[in-house]
Subunit: 338 residues, 4 copies
């Protein structure tokens, strides 16, 4: 950590901060510059240390040098992690494709969708049984009935099931049916929930919150990894910016950035990331070219009649066509696809 003193900091203030650094168990190193003094504080410490130093007298700012995540870091584990959950493989050169409707609406809808996405090349089925909805007046999902329909769809097609868990009290129930527990973007910093899925041995798809930094995303993953569950996939699904022509802004540079910083695989969600059906195909191809390890896409038998997210769902012919184009791009960038 580098403690930058104000230009007019007194000798006493510098001395005070040196003592403060050492009282925290760190070694100090004073550097007197042309315009101001900085104190290097050497040794690893908990995140609080920075904040504690920042409120010291004469301190202009404190610059952290170490990333605050450990287990998720590529510096700690250089080889990429491959997550496997039933029919789904993601990472280390393999591109997994998770597809299906936003919500499970009834058995025939989800089974039909499962068959269609499998035929087109998906390796897992998505479908929401517990739905986090912005408005209390919106459809909230079929809950356990929906989970049972997902299980039927898996039985019929062999596809692994990816479905969201919204609350600690549902973790056990959802884990009974799901191959992958999805943590939604709104719950990325619901730390109790992260710990709860960390206690299971079910794979986790952790979606980035729409205002989360990369560091916050990796620290959220760290909550799960820290409980002993190593099967974590990160998911970029778009951020909130001033842009209003798309539902969210999909910053694909997250993919190479995360590959640089972490060994965990990175899945991209072009459906939520754009919010408009007509933008999804090109952004899916771009995700693959950017190096994504997985894709998660909303596909519905009849988007116009979907109970949620119809405006960002592909129909079966659109998805089938997209999978073909994906295979060409995946081949061009050296990724293997089922």
């Amino acid at each position: 950590m580098i403690v930058v003193m104000e230009r007019n900091a007194t000798k006493e203030q510098v001395e005070h901060m040196v003592q403060r650094v050492e009282s925290l168990g760190l070694k100090s190193h004073v550097i007197v510059g042309a315009e101001r003094t900085v104190i290097a504080a050497i040794g690893t410490k908990r995140p609080e240390t920075r904040q504690s130093l920042e409120s010291g007298p004469g301190v202009a700012e404190v610059v952290p040098i170490l990333a605050p995540y450990k287990v998720a870091s590529r510096e700690v584990k250089p080889e990429p992690t491959q997550v496997r959950a039933g029919s789904l493989t993601v990472g280390a050169g393999v591109l997994g494709v998770i597809a299906g409707p936003c919500s499970v609406e009834n058995e025939s809808q989800i089974v039909e969708a499962a068959r269609a996405v499998k035929a087109a090349g998906a390796t897992a089925l998505r479908g929401g049984a517990f739905k986090p909805r912005t408005s209390p007046y919106s459809f909230q999902g079929l809950k356990e009935d929906g989970l049972k329909m997902l299980a039927t769809a898996r039985q019929e097609t062999g596809l692994a099931i990816v479905t969201e868990v919204m609350s600690t009290e549902d973790v056990e129930l959802v884990a009974k049916y799901a191959d992958v527990l999805q943590i939604g973007a709104r719950n990325m910093q619901n730390y109790r929930l992260l710990e709860a899925v960390g206690h299971t041995r079910t794979a986790v798809l952790l979606k980035r919150g729409p205002a989360a930094t990369m560091e916050e995303l990796l620290l959220a993953a760290e909550y799960i990894l820290n409980e002993g569950n190593s099967q974590v996939m990160l998911c970029e699904r778009g951020i909130r910016t001033f842009e209003a022509h798309t539902r969210f802004t999909l910053p694909l540079a997250s993919v190479p950035y995360l590959h640089h910083k972490t060994h965990l695989p990175v899945v991209v969600d072009p459906s939520h990331g754009t919010g408009h059906t007509y933008l999804i195909p090109d952004m899916t191809l771009a995700s693959v070219a950017a190096g994504a390890d997985g894709l998660i896409l909303e596909v519905h038998p009849d988007p116009e009649k979907a109970m949620s997210d119809g405006y960002q769902s592909l129909n079966f012919p659109q998805f089938t066509d997209l999978m073909e184009r994906c295979r060409r791009v995946a081949a061009a960038v050296g990724k293997s696809m089922a």
Copy 2:
């Protein structure tokens, strides 16, 4: 709702959308403009309706006309709501002041803080027992022990207790000790938690998520109100923007905007909203001048030694001085302050 057709939409597409609108139980009204056709869809419907129409053939966009929140709306209840919880009154001309440390650290710290903030003019005590922390390696709070210390501080000073609840399974426990349940910014869209506090009859302080729109904030309040708990305060605590010189960007226009749209009182948090002690006093005065109904401020006996948020905490003399200045601004804008 206004369904805007594409410029080159066919007669069949328009006809299809008219039928779709009517099949949803709405009346339709076709307006043929100079360059394109729009269809007005009349009648109130669930939020899904919009999405469902948006995926129709030839549709350029669907423009909602009605706000999606109801119970929170000022159009439904024009007179402002005043929230009362023990010593704390907020709203309808009264400015409440909630102050205290970020975390409860030990009994003497919280009792000392309670006495000091009360003496300076605070009408409630804040203090975290359950702490949501970005990193799993940070101090996570004293939990029930912390709640007991808060109860002691209330006994000593008479100040109402405002403290965060992070998970549905803790609601009952926290409500046993707290006068106001705080929903943190990261949990603003944790719908299960919103429903759970909605079931209690304890007042709620709902913090805006750092990427939440005003509409999302009001819909989150609606989740609570909808369960029968009418004692809800909204809290503006800053949003995520490109600005890096402050921890968050504090958009005070939220205060008059919310007063225009809702009857619920609006509290401002200049501590999180700026993230730097030296910016807090001016932004506190600005909050009062903007019309805030309440303030929530971090105050610590010794910020440099705080276990969390020391860099955005005031010490006792700073807080005492600020309260005096606040009283002058409150008087200037016609607000009553204890």
Copy 3:
């Protein structure tokens, strides 16, 4: 335009607005809904109309229906525009590649760079002679000397020259040397400059401002087109968001969005869009897969010694390798590349 009245708007207010709409030369159409009244205002008008109606009594909001740009619109000209400038062809199925150093530093640097990027597959040379710099203490470019060196590089290699013009008084001078006039992101809304380049018959590369909406970008293009210069390329180079791990956030959904709305070709700048050399290759491939019509990339003989932007420049071997990978992705998405 749709004028949405407030829920409690009086009959007189509605009547007033109807008269106001008609006094502006528009036809009005009143629709009485379940909860409020809206007035459809039919007929095309200047952008001011909206603002003028918005300040009327009892008006909640005014919703525009028509896009404010005309000449740039795909609805007006459905077939894609192809821009040709010397060796550079961009659009309508052809991927152009503009590469070279951020700044022209001396003749041998720019000639060497021109030869290297041409050998690797670039079809135009970039290089700044007039440099807009955030700080007055930074290197400001070689000005006319730099332009002459660019002309030499063109003579040596046959590559078209793309270079920035910063001020109306330089347009004539820069146009004497350049094949493409670049309008930098900071000048996207420098309307005098847009008009001045609109008066030339030299092709223009218009960079998106870091806080510009798509509508503002298209209206900026409209300023140029409106003066009679139809050779306009739009350039996505990243926006300002809360993300700090990249210099800007590169929102590739702009590419398919712009293809949907305008006939103008879309170039992507992964160098400025990411700001870090190690992120550029993957984001370049993603740009191609997203459908970009052109790429603009910073390439320098020795990035560590570059006078500007070294941290986001590729060296020659990196660029050569990237061009090979680009060709594979371009082929996969059906784009032709030199």
Copy 4:
């Protein structure tokens, strides 16, 4: 500057960077930490230095320690600058109020507005003669005719004139009529224009660009100061964020932040900063309480008929009432107002 090496940086890479630092004329200081090595680079240098070091082998990041602006810095000149231009005084305890219509429309409109705002307490008149407009189809201002009308209004009322200059070629003309040259937000980084107004001895109101950081704003001011014009006022007028319920987000923490970093006075524009008449009064009071040295407000005889910005203009009674409330808040925070 602190050069942070990657965790796995080799001894050779560290050695290389030490030589690089020294070849730039800086002293180096190597600190070997528990997990990685950092190199402190001591001595002041141009901004390029950072970028140059960032592209070195094994470098994780380069952390600047010094602010890049000099003349604008409060560390260089601790006492606040007071700007005086005719009837307008801004800064050092005096609150100036600039008010008037967005555009000069005709002589009687501007003279009437000047009289009304003066009567209510304004100390300068604003009014646009050269108008930067997003759309080429919008009203572009009366140009020199407008300037003459402003001069008439000054003659009639004695109010100083604040008006925008959009292009270098107009600086001389506008300076002939204006007491204060306004640089619009879109031109904040039009460096030629900044230099041109820097060459005059007319006071300058420099508006923050909607995506500009505080550092970029201060560096833009530095361009003007650097040419010898010390009469610069900074203006916060709102930034682009994801918030859509206001036209821009007005981040008032800029006021105390800038007071901390610079001696230049800070003016706030609540009209552009909110974009809705009903939000302006409360945000004006908040600006004063936050410590603003000046206000700039849009006031129009008949906002509904204004040729631009009517939706964010106050009428005369609204402005008169606001000025009275302002005086009370100014008094409460110890500011002097005419």
